[in-house]
């Protein structure tokens, strides 16, 4: 019997005792469960970060977003355009120092392809209060199929440090009930 500060006896490649073997097997079994849950959730679960992923020039993405805003604009809020795209459409959201454009008006239960990208540095997409988080990287278009499950007035908090104005970077998402009731 040696401690961990002593050189072990010459032949130390010896079978483990049953208790230790039992634990290694249990731990390995648990690791397999941990691993299997991820592919399983891709098949059965409703929340996966897969999406569509493309490289995009930040200027081109900005132009695409401005076009999207022009097409579906229904108003303004704090100087930021409010946009109400039809269900099933592609929705473009851009993060820039230090705001989210545009304000989105979506319908409960409808699906949208939500595109996320940045005009300048990394930003973080946090949908408040659901705590849904995605990284927003300049030069990359992250297209996620989203389905708002409840109506309400929600926020997008930037949760990646993006410079001195980081803490004022809050956007807005309004989800209206499916019959077109008031927000």
């Amino acid at each position: 019997m040696n401690n961990a500060l002593q050189s072990p006896p010459r032949i130390w490649w010896k079978p483990a005792e049953p208790a230790e073997k039992l634990w290694v097997r249990l731990a390995f079994g648990w690791c397999i469960v941990l691993f299997a849950m991820m592919p399983l959730w891709h098949l059965k679960g409703g929340q996966n970060p897969s999406g569509l992923r493309y490289r995009v020039d930040p200027k081109a993405y900005m132009a695409r977003t401005q076009e999207f805003i022009k097409t579906y604009k229904v108003g303004e809020d704090h100087g930021i355009p409010v946009v109400a795209p039809p269900p099933g459409s592609d929705v473009y959201l851009i993060g820039l120092q230090w705001q989210w454009q545009p304000v989105l008006k979506l319908q409960q239960g409808a699906s949208y392809m939500l595109h996320l990208s940045s005009y300048d540095v990394n930003h973080g997409f946090n949908l408040y209060p659901f705590n849904v988080n995605f990284q927003v990287v300049p030069g990359y278009d992250y297209g996620l199929k989203v389905t708002p499950t409840e109506a309400g007035d929600f926020r997008i908090i930037c949760n990646e440090f993006c410079g001195i104005g980081h803490h004022v970077m809050v956007g807005r998402v309004i989800v209206t009930p499916p019959e077109g009731g008031a927000p």
């Binding site: 019997m1 040696n2 401690n3 961990a4 500060l5 002593q6 050189s7 072990p8 010459r10 490649w13 010896k14 483990a16 049953p18 208790a19 230790e20 634990w23 290694v24 249990l26 390995f28 648990w30 690791c31 397999i32 941990l34 691993f35 991820m38 679960g45 409703g46 996966n48 970060p49 897969s50 992923r53 809020d77 100087g79 699906s111 996320l116 300048d120 540095v121 990394n122 946090n126 209060p129 988080n133 995605f134 990284q135 300049p138 030069g139 992250y142 199929k145 708002p148 499950t149 926020r155 908090i157 949760n159 990646e160 440090f161 001195i164 980081h166 803490h167 004022v168 809050v170 956007g171």
Partner: protein, 573 residues
């Protein structure tokens, strides 16, 4: 000193003067970094505690950068270089390979650290620890980190050289002891990590000078191959220190060398994959890449930690049982030297690292669950319980043995030192759990003002969040007191402490010494005593078997609760 070494009177080990001075220098530099990072920690804490909100926005992000770099890079790596020199030279009774080169490495590390600190404090690097491009810092900031990393890399080379010297000069028989084996894995991981660091900091340095470009997603990929792999250096070094302190304080025995060593090897094989933990909700990679890499290829590095989580306490249990503390399930734990700060620090390090850090880490690092964790306070909640409550606390425990054995001083203010691990561990536990809890309400990390007073749209967090952040502040301040005591005790002992000059063969006696030196565990009997338990599935260590089952249960519950929470949010994919 003749022949450049002395014989430690108590342990009989040869300790070479060069190795000893280098261990001291690196340990002192680590403590100074800890002091700088610790002051920054208090300032950050008092700002995130929304009721106090101490710093303005500019200084908050500046000091947060200082906190991250000083702690996670400078403190940890200086200490790890000291651990390497200790494991290579002292534990193998060897001289240190190329001491002049080791000094050059130390000078490079200090110069790099000073340059980086200067850039941060003068506001030329307000980019936080991860410095994601295209946020840009002064070129000298990146240069400082490169110099520090080159120094650390040379330190690893000195360590490998020392292994060769020890083998050639036959300073030990057979295989290296387990602690040295673990330190070697840490050094190998350090080399892999530092090469990734070079691969990203060198192009970024040139980019900051206006030469070339760095893709923001590629930056995140390679930076985290540095940033996360470096945490595996910490894990390997911490587990080695657990084995070390177990042997010193309660005479731990190694259950099975093969199992423990294989677990260390798993760390080496799968570490670089862990960069993926930070990229799970990034646009750059697909689901297959994310699933394979985030799980370290089917959680084999997690398996390694779960194995050590069994073998370390089981080694203690066996060590205590063969020496007669074998009643019931837990006599070995009850009769353990709880007043020895080396022991208490190690135990709390194991428990908090496993139960809080490990479980939250694996859960948040699950591809889909990361959607409800990424960039929230859950993440710093997780890593403060691994790298602070785990690694830093284990290093603190080791310090209480390094002071008498290497600095040859009595520990000053010993009664304070005895309670230090309790204060620090309890404070960090409260702090990191409160942080994790606040994060589950969506509170962002790295954020100056979550009242959003100046934002165009109001955000009202759940009223519970204010209370949770208050609890977080109380825990953090308690931990800061524990950290302050640690710095006071070590600095005072090292520079003004009472010298400890033992005659050859003389045992440690008197005040200011941990129990493991005053009453070292007696040598274990040559034959395994008959009173050891054998029956049942717990084998010789039934107490540990009960503890790991409790751990597994907690793990399963927390993991599946998080899947349930995820299922409540918007459909996304």
């Amino acid at each position: 000193m003749n022949a450049g070494f002395r014989i430690c009177p108590a342990t009989g080990r040869k300790i070479y003067a060069d190795a000893e001075s280098l261990i001291r220098a690196n340990a002192v530099a680590a403590t100074v970094s800890l002091l700088v990072g610790g002051i920054a920690a208090i300032l950050v804490l008092l700002t995130r505690w929304q009721a106090v909100h101490l710093l303005d926005a500019v200084w908050f992000y500046r000091i947060l950068t200082v906190h991250g770099i000083s702690m996670l890079i400078f403190f940890i790596i200086f200490f790890e270089v000291a651990v390497l020199y200790f494991a290579g030279a002292v534990l193998l009774n060897s001289r240190l390979f190329a001491p002049k080169v080791a000094w050059a490495a130390f000078v490079l590390m200090v110069a790099g650290a000073l340059l980086t600190e200067a850039m941060m404090w003068t506001g030329r690097a307000d980019v936080l620890l991860s410095s994601y491009v295209p946020l840009r810092a002064d070129p000298l900031y990146y240069l400082g980190i490169i110099l520090f990393a080159v120094g650390a890399l040379i330190g690893c080379v000195v360590y490998f050289g020392t292994l060769v010297v020890a083998k050639r000069e036959r300073t030990y028989e057979g295989s290296t002891p387990l602690v040295v084996f673990g330190a070697t894995t840490a050094a190998i991981i350090a080399v892999i990590t530092l090469l990734h660091g070079a691969a990203i900091y060198v192009p970024t340095f040139f980019w900051s000078l206006g030469i070339g470009t760095v893709d923001p997603q590629v930056y995140r990929l390679i930076w985290w191959a540095l940033g996360h792999s470096s945490q595996q250096i910490n894990v390997a070094a911490m587990v080695s220190v657990w084995y070390l302190l177990g042997a010193l304080t309660v005479g731990s025995l190694v259950l099975n060398e093969k199992i423990s060593r294989a677990a260390f090897v798993l760390y080496i094989m799968f570490i670089s994959l862990a960069s993926a933990h930070h990229l799970l909700v990034d646009p750059g990679m697909g689901p297959a890449w994310k699933v394979w890499n985030t799980s370290y290829a089917m959680y084999l590095a997690v398996l390694a930690s779960m194995i050590h989580g069994f073998t370390v306490p089981a080694g203690m249990e066996l060590g205590m049982r063969v020496r007669g503390f074998s009643k019931g399930l837990f006599e070995w734990l009850k009769k353990a030297p709880w007043g020895d700060p080396g022991f208490s620090a190690m135990i709390f390090s194991i428990v908090v690292f496993g139960f809080v850090g490990g479980i939250t880490g694996v859960t948040f690092g699950t591809e889909q669950i990361n959607i409800i964790a990424h960039n929230t306070l859950r993440i710093p909640g997780h890593f403060h319980s691994t790298v602070v409550s785990g690694t830093a606390l284990a290093f603190m425990g080791a310090t209480y043995y390094v002071i008498p054995l290497i600095f040859r001083r009595r520990i000053a203010f010993y009664p304070l030192a005895r309670i230090q691990p309790y204060l620090f561990a309890l404070g960090m536990l409260i702090f990191s759990m409160a942080m994790t809890f606040a994060g589950s309400f969506g509170v962002p990390r790295r954020h100056w003002d979550i009242s959003f007073g100046q934002a165009p749209f109001d955000v009202q967090f759940n009223p519970a969040v204010d209370a949770i952040l208050g609890v977080m502040a109380v825990g953090g301040l308690l931990a800061a007191v524990g950290g302050g005591i640690y710095i006071l005790v070590t600095v005072w002992s090292v520079f003004f402490g009472e010298r400890l000059d033992l005659a050859p063969g003389q045992a440690f006696t008197g005040h200011g010494l941990p129990a493991g030196l005053l009453n070292p565990p007696p040598a274990p009997p040559a034959e395994e005593p008959a009173h050891l338990p054998h029956a049942g599935f717990g084998g010789r260590t039934p107490g540990t078997m009960v503890l790991v089952m409790v751990f597994l249960l907690a793990f399963v519950v927390y993991y599946f609760v998080n899947w349930k929470l995820l299922s409540f949010v918007w459909k996304v994919g």
